[in-house]
Symmetry: C2
Subunit: 146 residues, 2 copies
């Protein structure tokens, strides 16, 4: 029975940031995520389609019972990573958009299929915009379900 | 033109682990993700539905040009977080499955809608299995697209 149990949907991806306000501005104004909620110096929760990007201040979340929620403690230091999927034909628009917004493209990689733009959020996390094709996920199939 | 650009799909969520082999076993055998690729002591890439969970050894990825890929450097230390969506009625099956597999449920939280199981991966990352309802995302809508 339980042998067939498996997860197949990421619901929340977490990033740790050193400046929540700057991160909120970056992810909402530049990447277009929607603010879901924020709590003091602990977190900013963002909606990304029907998934969540959770931005945490690790200095708060490493302590349990630190917020309105009583979730187990966690917290990381350093530069994390997240990637967002867009259609391959939108990559050039994103490049222009990011540049116009003052976000430097740190690197652009052309894979066997698809390509990736890499840039940094204000806390130094490595953010990528790319096509699902880089993982051999057919783009039309990926987006037709959304 | 670019004002309407926004991302709405998480494609990759990253976690940092101290033991890649143990993490691979945990995420594939217990959570049911599929191995996509692995590279020496640098990473294990897993497919989760049509998204990716990337497990990295931060000691390798903090250096650029460290692997077969030449992606910008990143890497974190500490305990990260990820959540996977399941249907609310499956939560009890998951609880039984995890316990049977020797994974301790660290905490169970009942939200206004839905509930969450929290447990640790072998590196101490805080993993959550929950319903999209906790974020006011209607479960049938969420899963009907998948």
């Amino acid at each position: 029975m339980t042998a067939t149990l498996k997860v197949s949907e990421i619901l929340e991806a977490a990033l740790y940031v050193t400046d929540l306000a700057a991160a909120e501005e970056f992810y909402t104004k530049i990447l277009g995520l929607s603010l879901y909620s924020r709590f003091a110096e602990r977190h900013v929760f963002l909606r990304c389609g029907d998934q969540m990007v959770l931005l945490f201040n690790a200095e708060a979340t490493v302590h349990s019972g630190d917020g309105p929620l009583d979730a187990p403690e966690h917290g990381m230091k350093g530069a994390g990573h997240i990637a967002f999927a867009v259609r391959d034909h939108e990559i050039d628009q994103w490049k222009e958009h990011l540049t116009t917004q003052g976000v430097s493209i740190e690197k652009e990689i052309c894979w066997e299929k698809g390509r990736s733009l890499y840039f940094r959020d204000p806390s130094g996390n490595s953010v990528e915009i790319t096509s699902p094709a880089i993982w051999r996920i057919e783009e039309n199939m990926f987006f037709s379900r959304r």
